[in-house]
């Protein structure tokens, strides 16, 4: 039996993700360039196939493809990969690709189990807001997934490094209005030498032949990883804010009130609060780093609860599995 085009593209995407994930996972540990050069194009191909699948599905059915869990999870994983690819090029961060792609493939495969075929939209979903609200919210979740992966890498490196670190005094940082402070390892007084790693003890261990330390030095420094997480959250937080606002506007048009304290709305609010806390904590030097990255992990747990937990386990106005 001939397979429909959208199913061919879906299978292509999953296949590409699995292969790319394997290559990039090995690359994470081995840093063999050929693995990155093999995995990166596959990740891009899978992402393109996924977007093509969504377009093909829309063209074939005439129904906006994001109105059920299958469609929205498909966009979620595609956006996660797309955002990651942007970060990978911007920050040379392909080392994280294996984890992003594994999650993308899992969510995509799980979404496929919700594929019930072509169903017309229920009346409350027959709105132009479906084409605005859903992609924005799903994109915010995708950005948080990328932040989550980099937070995990941060935490992995942080705890792995602890074994190599000597007790040291952490200098307080100055802000524009803050006090003048002692020098920190980030100083770049001499441009003939590279910026020092934030943990010289790790570099010494690596130089003395410790394999784990040597591998850890191939990852970006903790502050650099923290900046990447911050950048990803800085994409997700405005998006989820706009998503909640557009959802409220849609709710007002559909249900009569912009806020009904529906489980989905309130779970999204809780997620927003977690990332708002992240952003506020990130302004404090003492909290930036380890603690904010744990908050980022907690935030993604909240995202998953809001996205899947509420849809599947808790009945409410959003109980049409979107």
């Amino acid at each position: 039996m001939k397979m429909p085009l959208d199913q061919v593209l879906l299978a292509t995407a999953i296949g590409a993700y699995v292969l790319a994930a394997l290559a990039l996972l090995v690359y994470f540990f081995s840093r063999e360039d050929w693995l990155r050069n093999f995995g990166a194009p596959l990740a891009i191909a899978g992402c393109v196939a996924q977007f093509a699948q969504l377009i093909a599905r829309y063209e074939m059915t005439g129904i906006w493809p994001l109105l059920n869990l299958y469609g929205s999870l498909s966009l979620f994983s595609a956006m996660a990969v797309a955002i990651f690819i942007g970060f990978a090029f911007r920050y040379r961060a392909w080392y994280a690709g294996g984890f992003v792609l594994v999650l993308a493939a899992i969510f995509l495969a799980y979404g496929a189990t919700w594929n019930e075929g072509t169903l017309p939209a229920v009346p409350s979903l027959q709105s132009y807001w479906a084409k605005i609200h859903v992609p924005i919210v799903v994109s915010s979740y995708a950005a948080f997934l990328v932040a989550f992966v980099f937070s995990c890498i941060y935490l992995l490196k942080y705890y792995a490094e602890r074994g190599f670190m000597q007790p040291q005094v952490v200098a307080p940082m100055a802000t524009d209005a803050g006090p003048v402070v002692p020098a920190s390892p980030l100083a770049v007084a001499d441009f003939t030498t590279p910026v020092e790693d934030s943990t010289p003890a790790l570099a010494r261990a690596a130089a003395s032949g410790n394999a784990v330390a040597a591998w850890l030095t191939t990852l970006p420094s903790l502050p650099q990883l923290d900046v990447i997480v911050y950048r990803a959250v800085a994409i997700g937080l405005p998006l989820i804010s706009i998503g909640i606002i557009t959802g409220a506007m849609w709710a007002k048009e559909s249900w009569g009130a912009y806020w009904q304290w529906d489980p989905k709305e309130t779970a999204a609010l809780a997620t927003w609060i977690v990332y708002l806390a992240y952003m506020h904590l990130h302004t404090r030097h003492a909290w930036r780093g380890l603690r904010t990255n744990w908050v980022s992990v907690l935030g993604f747990v909240s995202v998953i609860f809001c996205y899947l937990g509420v849809n599947i386990w808790i009945s409410g106005l959003h109980s049409y599995k979107v």
Binding site: P123, A174, Q224, S241, A270, I273, V274, L281
Partner: protein
């Protein structure tokens, strides 16, 4: 006065602390999650069925069954607004435009220093030109006889956090206006009948109600997908002129500033009651909605019209999955002295024996349409607040205000030392790469 002053200082110190604000966020988030996990607005018995008695009692006593309107929730939001206000005046506004002042360049984590040819005045001019070409705003100041240059970029973006805070306050003001002056409610209208909305005195006549349900075969079996709900109404507002409207889901109507929404539908039912074969006129004297009941005359029994069954399976006599009206019936319950005597599914036009010679026959169903209505004068303000909030977030996240402190000192005849340090509102890590690139270019162009 000293005690009051001390109290005020403590208050400002506490509420102006970011960690205190984050603690409030944590409580706010936890209460919000409680509202997601614990069913809201249910009868107390529901909680005792769902949870162990001590937990159910705690839920009810702590108002966690209506958490979003509980004193805890409103109080936390109030504290957040208070904290936000104090933080805005204590931290955000003072930090918005930090004063120009000298620093110890090599004590700032992001700093650079190099020697260039030229006397300090010439070098300063070259530096000003360099930064000016790249969009940095240059200002020069003299401190204790030492001339400092300050270069700022995206200085305007320092207002982003302030803008976001203002947006949050505007949203809060908009929702307060609704609480103070708005109202909402719901009403159901039987086809052919008219209701008056108590708050607005507008009348709604339901001329017709239609719905469309499409059976679709899926992998999991037959799904009856609702496609459309349409109410054909005539509404008379303040001007007294009846106007014809079509109301659909996602297409509310606006009558004198109050919006009316299609929210539900159902089946009213006309019943015929007989006593030993003789019809009893006027009982029940009206079309019953699902959940309505009436008393059987001369008895202590009451009959409850529990729900409408659009399709009764002919073979099993049980309700079928098809929500379209094919072979309809009704589920009736009989109650005596507060105790249920049982319930039965009765096909349309067939009678049921109520005992003592009483019989009841469901005769005819009438569709009714449910409307929600809402008057919310705070919506424009909430909309503006949302826009301002998002604008503030975007400015805060995507534009990095940075300041460079530049000092040029003469080292030898015809040579100067350039010292540059950088600070940003988000620490040093986010600016490290850009600072390094900037300094490499600066050194290349000035030496």
């Amino acid at each position: 006065m000293t005690a009051v002053r001390s109290l005020y200082d403590d208050f400002v110190r506490t509420f102006g602390n970011v960690l205190f604000a984050v603690s409030l966020f944590v409580v706010w988030g936890a209460l919000t999650i409680v509202g997601v996990v614990v069913d809201q607005g249910k009868d107390p018995s529901v909680y005792f069925q769902a949870y162990a008695a001590p937990i159910a009692r705690a839920i009810l006593r702590l108002s966690l069954d209506n958490v979003y309107h509980s004193p805890w929730y409103v109080g936390i939001v109030g504290l957040i607004l208070l904290s936000l206000t104090v933080c805005t005046f204590k931290r955000v506004i003072p930090a918005r435009l930090p004063p120009l002042r000298p620093i110890k360049v090599d004590k700032i984590p992001l700093h650079a220093g190099f020697e260039v040819a030229g006397d300090p005045e010439t070098v300063r001019e070259r530096l000003a030109a360099f930064f000016g070409r790249r969009g940095w705003q240059i200002r020069e100041r003299l401190f204790d006889g030492v001339e400092w240059s300050f270069a700022d970029k995206h200085n305007w973006a320092r207002r982003g956090v302030l803008v976001a805070h203002i947006g949050f306050v505007i949203i809060a003001a908009g929702t307060t206006i609704y609480w103070a002056r708005g109202f909402s409610g719901e009403t159901a209208v039987l086809t052919g009948e008219t209701v008056t909305v108590p708050e607005t005195h507008a009348t709604i006549r339901l001329n017709d109600f239609r719905y469309a349900i499409q059976p679709i075969m899926t992998k999991s079996g037959m799904v009856y997908q609702p496609i459309d709900y349409v109410s054909d109404v005539t509404v008379t507002g303040k001007d007294g002129v009846p106007k014809h409207y079509i109301v659909r889901v996602n297409h509310p109507i606006d009558v004198d500033g109050t919006l009316y929404y299609q929210s539900s539908y159902g089946f009213g039912m006309r019943f015929r009651l007989t006593d030993r074969g003789v019809a009893v006129p006027g009982v029940p004297g009206r079309t019953l909605a699902e959940g309505d009941s009436f008393e059987v005359p001369g008895t202590q029994r009451s009959v409850v019209y529990e729900r409408f069954v659009p399709t009764v399976d002919k073979q099993s006599g049980m309700p079928a999955a098809d929500p379209r009206v094919n072979d309809p019936g009704v589920v009736l319950g009989v109650v005596q002295g507060g105790s249920s005597l049982g319930e039965a599914l009765i096909p349309l036009h067939q009678w049921v024996d109520l005992g003592d010679g009483w019989r009841m026959t469901p005769q005819r169903y009438v569709l009714y349409s449910g409307f929600q209505y809402r008057y919310d004068p705070g919506i424009p303000l909430v909309g503006i607040g949302a826009f301002v909030l998002v604008a503030g977030l975007i400015v805060s996240f995507y534009f990095l205000p940075a300041r460079l402190y530049v000092r040029v000192d003469r080292t030898a005849a015809g040579r100067s030392h350039v010292g540059v340090a950088a600070t940003t509102v988000k620490g040093y890590d986010v600016f490290e790469n850009e600072f390094r690139r900037l300094m490499v270019t600066l050194r290349g162009e000035t030496t």
